[in-house]
Amino acid sequence: MVRPGVARRIRGLSDRALAWLFITPTIVLLLAINIFPLLWTIYLSFTNYRANRANVPMIWLGADWYQSILTDPDIWAAMQVTAHFVIWTVVIETVLGFGLAYLIDKKFRGHGMWTTIILLPMMLSPAVVGNFWTFLYQPQIGLFNYVVAFFTGRPASSFQMLGDVTLSPWAIVIVDAWMWTPYVMLICLAGLRSIPDYIYEAAEVDRASKWRQFWSITLPMALPFIMLAVLFRGIENFKMFDMVNLLTGGGPGSTTEVASITLKRAAFESWRTGYSSAFAIILFVTVFGLANIYVKALNKVKSR
């Protein structure tokens, strides 16, 4: 495989040089495509730059954007929409996902095949999923409305999942839960399978009830995994853009305008590049900060 000349040259390399040779390309790529743009964003967030008017001389604004964003009621409304979305999806996905994992761990016949089937939605493109759910949510012709009408007796055209101010925040929660419950289920399943049998055997010997076993063995031992799933889903849904953009585009009004949609509107529709850069930095710091606090809590649970 390796030509002699190359081999000789590499033979001369110390482990240290080889380590750098192996790691540098990745670091360079990340610096060029992640870090340099991040620094640029930070710089732009202090200016009045607009990407569609590149020739207008830039003015240094200091922290003006940050101040106006943090005091803007619209931004806080978007953060509330995001919080509603993140909290409800994480709660529903965790309860359903853990429940499914607990049932699958009973190893009934054919559990492998059914697990694979349950996994399918999370493998799909969120944008394409969001798009076809708009079809299912159509008030006149959509399957979702038909099924709800069938079970509740309300006429299918009497409610609009995507056009109603009270229903649309739940419409995006339902699609996200449909898509990502399997993800939580998989992580919980890994957690349940990591609990050694002998602990349950010991509990049986001590005549602990199944109920007791669940609360004192299963749940505490699976907890780090559940918390990990919550972390991953929380970060992902805080950044959520594609699925919501296609389902509602933030509407009606701004009832489903999660932070990423506000950011996209500011950056790529009104072209307020400086302003949206500042908002992007605020979002990044928020995710980063919350995730760090959470990881500390997670490590405490793990080390217990």
Binding site: I118, M123, E201, F241, S260
Partner: protein, 317 residues
């Protein structure tokens, strides 16, 4: 009976428990499959059947959705259509029944090809870079190792739109806007962090003694990496590649903001397939079905390898 029960552990669930658990899981699986099956059925419906109420489960299959997906059509007067020769192919005859003629191919195939090139290109790059770095981090003493690893991971916490703003400006300046190369580099940079973390987990599990034995036999460190470590890591590399591929195949936010024509992939294209008077649902469903099929096949074939990748390598036994 007694011998049968003692052969099992006392914690094995009873047959009734199993049956009960099984039926609940099957029920969930069936409910969760309905939207997917529905979209695949819609792909084979005629436009009238697709929007009928109550929704039709039984219908006469039609290829009109696929025809509308792959062609563009123009409306013509019946006199003009009669003046033409016999219809060319199935799609032309379907179009003529609706007073239209096929005007040419649609953009679906080029978008699909872009998806293939960008997804595979970025996967190969990300896995190659990821394997090298993962080996470096796993085997060598790298200064600030934990900081670098955390830095690599934290690049995933950026909301895609936040990354897209400066990338948009940067690509505009250096001429990578709306190019496949630009999208490949961007997806590689997103995937490489996942690849490093996953592959480091796999390579950590390959005993160092294998390489050390090879090096005592006269291999260089690099030869030992190529001939001993890489073959051992094949499963891990394959699993990582699947995840990179799925991400790049499904990505929408960057694609919709940074590409317009030349390098546009299928996810931003499928939602804008419109017919006369709104979205052409059978065509959208056909485009969706064709786009989802590779992923469904992948998932079913490679299900054994999926677990570790999904859990981001953070869940280790």
């Amino acid at each position: 009976m007694t011998s049968a029960t003692t052969a099992h552990s006392v914690v094995e669930p009873s047959a009734t428990t199993r049956r009960f658990a099984g039926s609940l899981v099957v029920l969930y699986a069936i409910i969760t499959m309905i939207p997917l099956v529905w979209i695949m059925l819609t792909a084979f419906k005629s436009p009238d059947d697709a929007i009928s109420y109550p929704p039709k489960v039984m219908f006469k299959p039609s290829l009109e959705g696929f025809c509308n997906l792959f062609t563009t059509r123009s409306r013509q007067t019946p006199e003009f259509i009669r003046s033409l020769g016999p219809p060319q192919g199935l799609c032309d005859s379907i179009a003529r029944e609706r007073n239209m003629v096929v005007a040419g191919p649609s953009n679906y195939v080029p978008r699909f090809v872009n998806s293939l090139i960008i997804a595979f290109g970025s996967t190969v790059l990300a896995v190659a870079l990821g394997t090298l770095s993962a080996y470096g981090f796993s085997r060598f003493r790298v200064p600030l190792k934990d900081d670098l690893l955390f830095f690599i991971l934290s690049t995933r916490m950026m909301p895609p739109i936040a990354v897209a703003i400066p990338i948009y400006l940067m690509y505009r300046t250096i001429g990578l806007s709306d190019t496949r190369l630009g999208m490949i580099l961007l997806y590689t940079s997103v995937n490489v962090s996942l690849a490093v973390w996953l592959l480091k987990g796999f390579i950590d599990e390959i005993p160092r003694e294998y390489e050390e034995a090879a090096m005592i036999d006269g291999y260089t460190r690099f030869q030992a990496f190529v001939k001993v470590v890489l073959p051992q890591a094949t499963t891990g590399i394959a699993a990582t590649a699947i995840f990179c591929l799925i991400f790049a195949w499904n990505e929408y936010a960057f694609a919709v903001l940074l590409t317009s024509g030349n390098a546009q992939t299928a996810p931003p294209f499928i939602p804008i397939i419109i017919g006369e008077g709104g979205q052409d649902w059978p065509a959208v469903a056909a485009g969706t079905t064709l786009f989802l099929v590779p992923i469904v096949v992948f998932t079913v074939l490679l299900r054994k390898h999926l677990l570790r990748g999904i859990t981001f390598g953070a869940v280790r036994k």
